[in-house]
Amino acid sequence: MWHDAALVAGKDIRIELRSRVLLWQVVPFGVLALILFALALGPSEVALRRGAPGLFWLALLLASVLASGRSASIEAAPGTRNTVRLLGLDPGGVFLGKACALALQLCVLGVVLEAGLLLFFHVDAARLATATPLALLAIAALAAVGTLYGALVAGTDVASTLLPLLVLPALAPVLIAGERGMAAVLAGGGPGRWAVVLVVMAVVYLAVGVLLYGPLEETS
């Protein structure tokens, strides 16, 4: 399974490096969302700093929906899924590989958005750096959920409209835990039980994904 996961992750990352959808579409969308949220809050320094964690996670969540859709659409071309299936890869490995590739892309996006927080929201750089483990946990959960729901809608005519409806309610706990945890870290404390929520989400969705990705692969 792990070998198959590495193969699939390598394939998705190579496709991304060639197509650069992340660089030219997903990352600019995330930055745009961050700027628009800041405009909606107004120029108040206090409001911007207070809202920074929530807006960071909201921008990351919305951009992750785009990235998830893109990740799933790689196999949506006619015959591609059947070709992957004929290779005899373990479905759990395919899921983990795609989730790893998506997580790596979201890490890049997260770094850019954190730079946006420093630039536009004037948060403390040292405290933001200490929130990195929390962000990694959240990204693991985002990637697992995004890969699973992306596979659910892949190949349908309405994938672009259906995916946000399905995935955003499922990602709401990541938004809540990420925001509360980061807000606590930026205030000088620790993430506390919010980190536990993210660990549980990541583990549960990764396990469920490994179990249920097989039936989803059969459908396409």
Partner: protein, 239 residues
């Protein structure tokens, strides 16, 4: 059994609901602190119980049975779809009755309490399930996707259940039982509340039964229409 389900369940559900309404509105006394708004609570917990545990529990079970190769059958897919559809109605009514109670009790229609928020998210998750069912696809493809989606959405049910304990929000803890069979409600209020659970369960069972029968007939009609279209095309070929 079929006779009972077809002929008796509907009138029984109606009668039980009527008795619950009569007891809740005219027989039980107003509550000491809440006054008459307590009467909404003869409906709200029963609706929530049916939606959360019965409807979505059944949907998850039927979906798991569909995904399991040894038990895979179209009937489980149709049963899951029927229970989710009725469950969404019950859960939406839970939110509406909770909101109607919250306005006089808390002063607002909605608070960002963990129980309320997680329930609203659960409703949206299962509305997504219903949206997925309407996406044109091969019936087997749709059934598997929806089965996976139902299992994923059902992951939110334990979060809703334990949210009042994990986050200590505004929503009250267990309404009837506290630590086993230590009742917090007594007398006619307790019996009315108990009857409301039975009545809502009967209404749910009747609605699911009818919805399932409609779904089976829909499938049969679609199959017949396809057979008819194929016959016509073959006839054109012969001519």
């Amino acid at each position: 059994m079929t006779l009972f389900l077809d002929r008796i369940l509907g009138p029984l559900a109606l009668a039980l609901t009527a008795v619950t309404v009569w007891l809740g509105l005219w027989v039980t006394p107003p509550e000491e602190v809440q006054g008459d708004i307590v009467r909404l609570l003869y409906l709200h917990p029963a609706l929530a119980w049916v939606a959360l545990y019965l409807a979505f529990g059944l949907a998850a079970l039927a979906s798991a049975l569909y995904l399991w190769p040894r038990t895979r059958s179209e009937k489980w897919d149709l049963l899951a779809a029927s229970t989710v559809e009725v469950g969404v109605v019950f859960l939406t009514l839970t939110l509406v009755t909770g909101s109607l109670w919250g306005r006089p009790a808390w002063g607002v229609w909605w608070v960002w309490d963990a129980r309320l928020t997680s329930t609203a998210l659960l409703d949206l998750l299962f509305i997504g399930y219903l949206a997925m069912r309407r996406v044109p696809a091969d019936p087997h493809v749709r059934a598997r996707r929806c089965a996976v989606l139902a299992l994923l959405a059902a992951l939110d049910v334990p979060i809703v259940h334990y949210s009042v304990q994990w986050w200590n929000g505004l929503h009250q803890d267990a309404s009837v039982l506290r630590g086993g069979f230590h009742f917090k409600v007594h007398g006619s209020m307790l019996w009315t509340l108990g009857l409301s659970f039975i009545a809502m369960t009967a209404v749910f069972a009747w609605m699911v039964r009818r919805r399932y029968q409609i779904a089976v007939r829909d499938e049969a009609t679609a199959d017949a229409a396809l057979d008819e279209a194929l016959r016509e095309r073959r006839a054109e070929g012969v001519r």
